[in-house]
């Protein structure tokens, strides 16, 4: 170590480069071209980055970059277009599925997805969500549910658990005052317009793989023109839950998963 330091930084970097294991021969994993080089602004441990990557990978693997248009509305993911190397539209709060409807209706052969948080999809945009699903628009909705408003600083979301603290429920969500958390995914799964509906997470490698498969399905099913694909990603918010990334994942497993159980709610061909 001392010797390396004495040789100066240039030499040190050169040694590192020479010793790099990232050679073409042993490369097993790389950034898809559907992601930009922009560093993501998300907090450490947040699930958004993984979810973005899965969507980018799905688009790259299906080779549909030139046929894909994404919509991300207000929320933490409002800057999604900075990270995705695809055509994207930023939508008003709650309106992503209406914007996606507009795009898909005039470009029926393109792949269109919206990427929405819980406040966006299940509070201010509930009307658009239900009607977009009910019309069976041939789009993919990726729904990130972390039970809190991240961007505005930790206010109660429609999916905030009973008793869960937020800046607007400082003593915990009280059902008598704020009602129960909204299981919007169970709600829309009932609609005939929804072709595929599943709930996933990105907290473990196995769950990441399942989430990826769900997202790939959501794109592929658009070709069938049989209705809407809905993928809920139960996620965490370490910053606003005021936990470390590890603590937040553990809390999510112990509290979010029992209320929002992972698994398929509607799979083509087999009604559950």
């Amino acid at each position: 170590m001392n010797e390396k330091r004495m040789l100066g930084e240039d030499h040190y970097e050169q040694v590192i480069a020479e010793e790099s294991i990232c050679t073409n021969e042993n490369l097993v994993y790389e950034k898809p071209e559907t992601l930009t080089d922009t560093p993501m602004h998300y907090c450490p441990g947040c699930g958004h980055g993984v979810a973005h990557r899965l969507i980018a990978e799905a688009i790259a693997e299906l080779d549909i970059q030139d046929k894909t248009v994404g919509v991300a509305p207000v929320g933490c993911s409002v800057f999604m277009y900075n990270y995705m190397n695809i055509d994207m539209t930023e939508a008003a709060h709650g309106r992503a599925s209406a914007v996606a409807t507009g795009i898909k209706r005039v470009l029926p052969d393109k792949y269109v997805f919206s990427y929405q948080g819980d406040g966006d999809l299940a509070a201010i945009g509930t009307g658009e969500t239900i009607h977009t699903c009910n019309r069976g628009e041939n789009i993919l909705i990726v729904f990130i549910n972390n039970g809190i408003y991240g961007m505005t600083g930790g206010q109660m979301a429609p999916t905030t658990l009973v008793g869960m603290k937020s800046t607007t429920t400082p003593y915990g969500r009280d059902v008598a005052v704020m009602g129960n958390p909204l299981k919007i995914t169970e709600l829309i799964a009932q609609l005939p317009g929804v072709y595929y509906c599943t709930r996933v997470a990105v907290n473990t490698p196995a769950n990441v793989r399942r989430a990826k498969k769900a997202i790939v399905n959501g794109f592929k099913y658009q070709e069938l023109k049989k209705g809407l694909s809905f993928v809920e990603v139960v996620s965490n918010c370490p910053s606003n839950w005021k936990m470390t990334p590890l603590e937040s994942n553990k809390w999510m497993e112990e509290n979010m998963f029992p209320f929002y159980p992972l698994g398929d709610l509607k799979v083509p061909g087999k009604e559950k």
Binding site: F79, N85, R95, I103, V106, L107, G127, H131
Partner: protein
């Protein structure tokens, strides 16, 4: 060969949309303009393959427009006053993202739920912004069913020329009345994809992003500066107005839309009595023909502005004439249409001052 038809205003407008090669209509029913959606639902798809979708709300409709216009298509919506109010957030986004689209407001009396009768009470909302932030629409004010047709074609042209939302500001009477119209021939739907449209990123270009979000103050100011520069250019190139019997007029009635037509009747009545009256009719109410009205004010003795509201455009008239002549106002509200006799009476009242002229007479 002219194609003449007797048509209701709303239906003529819808027919014009099909003929203008419109790619998509997204709207929600509201009186007095529901015939637009009804007519399109019956005729559009089978004739041109145009998308017609009844949205779950005006809020959803304007956001469908945002998405579809971002895809580079010729799309439109129509509504009436309360519905247009609901759309304002989306219109602000569309204006900032510089997306071309056609908006139609068949205005009814307000405020609130108001009435389904005709009004011009949404003038401020249409020409001064309406939603949040500094933006402007191009606003066309038809005064006949013929113009309801012509302004659809013109509206799309202006929207795409300037990448700016364009509004047709009609009223409930124009939407509901039947008149003879000459229809323009069917235009093909445009297949060119604008370079800015979000349609899927090919390998050989950078990704397209449609957004109105610019977090850095300096960047947002730059966006604003560019918008203002565009609005100035639009004002230099696109002002349209009509002057009727203004050459020898002593007094000019300034009115837009339906009221301007009523005022042309007043010209005849007044001239029978020896009063030389003309009509100045802005066709674009945004941009407003300030200079033309200012020049006209050099040669007349007074102006009576007539509107179906509490006095909205009259503020622009006063800005235009810079105090050169007195500017009087007659307004009816709540869905009441002023009669030619009523306007003439007001005019005579103003003329019956000690000097016998329309000078310094302020009621």
């Amino acid at each position: 060969m002219k194609e003449l038809k007797l048509m209701k205003g709303n239906e003529a407008l819808a027919e014009a949309a099909i003929r203008a090669g419109c790619d998509g209509y997204f709207g929600y029913p509201i009186t007095p303009q529901s015939e637009v959606l009804e007519y399109l639902a019956e005729h559009a798809a089978k004739r041109t393959g145009m998308v017609v979708l009844q949205a779950e709300s005006e809020v959803a409709a304007i956001n469908m427009i945002y998405g579809a216009s971002g895809a580079g298509k010729r799309v439109m919506t129509s509504s009436s006053s309360p519905g247009i109010s609901l759309m304002q957030e989306g219109i602000s986004y569309i204006a900032c993202a510089e997306l071309p689209c056609l908006l139609v407001n068949v205005v009814r009396g307000g405020p609130g739920l108001g009435t389904i009768q005709p009004s011009q009470g949404d003038y401020f909302q249409a020409v001064k912004g309406g939603g949040h932030g500094d933006y402007k629409l191009i606003v066309l004010a038809p005064s006949t069913v013929q113009e309801m047709v012509d302004h659809v074609k013109l509206g799309f042209e202006l929207a795409f020329k300037w990448r700016n939302p364009t509004m047709i500001l009609a009223d409930g009477a124009l939407g509901q009345m039947m008149e003879k119209v000459e229809l323009f021939p069917q235009q093909p739907r445009v297949t060119d994809v604008p370079e800015w449209a979000t349609v899927g990123k090919p390998k050989n270009r950078e990704r397209n992003i449609i957004t109105s979000l610019h977090m850095q103050a300096e960047a947002m100011e730059e966006i604003n500066n560019n918008l203002q520069k565009k609005y100035k250019a639009i004002a230099e190139e696109e002002i349209r107005f009509e002057m009727i019997s203004c050459d020898d007029a002593d007094v000019v009635l300034v009115a837009f839309g339906l009221v301007a037509r009523i005022c042309t009747k007043v010209v005849d009545l007044a001239r029978e009595k020896g009063i030389k009256v003309g009509v100045f009719r802005p066709i674009t109410v945004s941009p407003y023909p300030y200079d033309a009205l200012n020049t006209l004010a050099n040669n007349i003795k007074g102006i009576l502005t007539v509107e179906m509201n509490a006095g909205q455009m009259v503020e622009d008239v006063r800005l235009a004439v810079e105090g050169k002549v007195p500017v009087e106002f007659l307004g009816r509200m709540g869905g009441v249409i002023p009669s030619p006799e009523e306007i003439l009476h007001k005019l005579e009242e103003k003329l019956a001052c000690p000097a016998g002229r329309f000078v310094g007479v302020l009621a």
